[in-house]
Point group: C2
Chain length 332, copies 2
DNA sequence: TTGTAGGCGTTATCAT
DNA sequence: ATGATAACGCCTACAA
């Protein structure tokens, strides 16, 4: 920057001022400086700026699984919210291994990110509620997909229980008596809560909860397909006529497996998903699912974080769920 | 850091030395310092370290679409390669809008990333070959999915033409005469090259290339399904008995659409994909596809970049493709 | 072995 | 309006 100043015949501070625009600068010098900057296509070093300001303008996002459409949507929301700001997201991939998870967080912290978005952090070990509460005192923090007692206002959660209850009740209302459920990764709260909603709906309808009809998947399409295989292999002993999949990805996998076995949906088996993923209804119509505003969850989480950052008040809205029936489902 | 030194009764430099381990420090002082560090759980500021060293230990990754399984695999490779290093990836999302694409790159540059991985950059406007060559002179750079003349050694590409040729020839060898093709986003080289391989294989077999049988998709499942709908709607005028999908995601979409119309695969229509995506063969068996070592492409690209960074010699291996036939395809 | 001091690229506060 | 100058947090000669 001083080099630029030298070439333009001004001081380094003037260059800084031209760039920041905080203080008026004589038009001729202004022009001279911009000229030199242009020639050398100089860019101010954000890192050094950060040193001065005490911030990095980076938001850490601790996540898992970048290849999923679900996460992709959340990310779109996060990126969208930061679009016109100076902030930039930095992703760190957690894993199912708790220590790796913690290490990923440490990297973010060492980089002095200005705030953190925790995506469905594991509730074990060093990542327990207590730890996260402590973390929240050190820096602005938003948690997606997990409710931390005492930190409710900074947690983005979804009415998983209600959604699953709604979905299951809908299936029951259509006359089904034996309903299977493919869960997501159970240590992720969303999955556990959806399972609860499912079992509660069964109980409230006076139906029996059959453990053999509940298969744990991992939110991926493959696990959905595999779960169906397991269910079908037991079908003699544990018959069922409908499946409630813990998310749309598993619903897609399940649908493929059913198609493959030439089992009609919904004629032979009814299928309900969760998320209302982009395009799902096009790929596997007809589809009944629970709509979840994923994109907005990412967006709002980020906006709240930015508000936290600037000390502004904010409130995370409640994210509603909705039963969506695409085309005529014909659940029987 | 000086605060830590004060509390431990040593100078700030000694604290630095304890942390870096570059210079011996008296055991007692060492202990005292570590003690204080522990108490205040102090972490050195990587940003400030970067200022001194002139590097940020960040690798910029310009990408598009974080929600795709294909990109997820590349990313796994990138992350894996950086795992035991001090480097950390920073992602910036490009878009189909060239100016956005450029802006995403600028953010990375302003953050003074030490190196850049360009993921299938658009070959237009400011991102032309000339520009990228210039960029490569400024900082270590690896390009995935596009061949830049004069920069071949830093480009990770795949034998797309050969793979598509192989796939199409295989289908022809099974007796098909009218083969449809669903392409990926055509401004991405991979997609264009695969289309070339497809048309060349047809020509070499003396078959006619029918434009109406070539549908442009965008690598997503939905586009695969939609393409099939279009193809089927024209089937009277332009019949076909096989489909070569430009990637596995579109193959999945196509398969779903076919299943939905109760069109058997491979009895009625044969389907071949490209990528050998994780789990695909499980979800839609039997599947014939071209195997592409996606994970290793990300891994090797990153290792090469790190080598570039440290001035070590390196060579990007050729990434082979392979025709994979899962189970008995029964292409007729 | 340890402390002092200078510098990395900016911004902000002073004078001028 | 503009130029010095002091931070920001850390590393590293250099000196002791």
């Amino acid at each position: 920057m001083s080099e630029i100043g030298r070439l333009a015949g001004v001081s380094q501070s003037t260059v800084s001022r031209v760039l920041s625009g905080t203080t008026p600068v004589a038009p001729d010098k202004q022009a001279a400086v911009l000229e030199v900057i242009e020639q050398h296509n100089f860019r101010p070093n954000i890192v050094a700026q950060g040193l001065v300001h005490g911030r990095t303008f980076q938001i850490g996002v601790l996540t898992r699984h970048l290849g999923s459409p679900f996460f992709g949507e959340i990310l779109r929301g996060i990126a969208k919210a930061m679009e016109e700001t100076n902030y930039h997201p930095v992703f760190s991939l957690g894993s199912e291994n708790p220590s790796e998870d913690r290490k990923a967080l440490d990297v973010l912290l060492a980089r002095r990110v200005d705030g953190i978005i925790l995506q469905a952090p594991q509730a074990v070990n060093k990542m327990n509620d207590e730890f996260i509460r402590g973390l929240a005192e050190e820096l602005p923090l938003i948690v997606i997909g997990r409710q931390i007692p005492g930190l409710e206002k900074q947690c983005v959660i979804v009415k998983n229980f209600e959604g699953a209850y709604l979905a299951t009740s809908h299936i029951i209302a259509k006359g089904h008596r034996a309903i299977a459920h493919i869960t997501g990764t159970l240590w992720i709260e969303d999955a556990a809560q959806r399972r609860e909603g499912y079992t509660q709906a069964l109980r409230d309808a006076g139906l029996e909860v059959i453990p053999e009809l509940i298969i744990e998947g991992d939110f991926t399409e493959v696990s959905g397909a595999q779960a169906v295989d397991v269910l079908l292999s037991r079908r003699e002993a544990f018959p069922f006529s409908a499946i409630f999949a813990g998310n749309d990805q598993m619903a897609i996998g399940a649908r493929l497996a059913l198609y493959h076995r030439r089992i009609g949906v919904p004629e032979d088996i009814s299928l309900v998903g969760f998320d209302d993923l982009l395009g799902t209804q096009y790929m596997i119509p007809p589809l009944t699912t629970i709509r979840q505003p994923i994109f907005y969850m990412g967006l709002m989480a980020t906006q709240s974080l930015l508000a936290l950052l600037s000390g502004e008040p904010f409130h995370l809205p409640a994210f509603p769920l909705e039963l969506v029936i695409r085309q005529s489902v014909g659940l029987r």
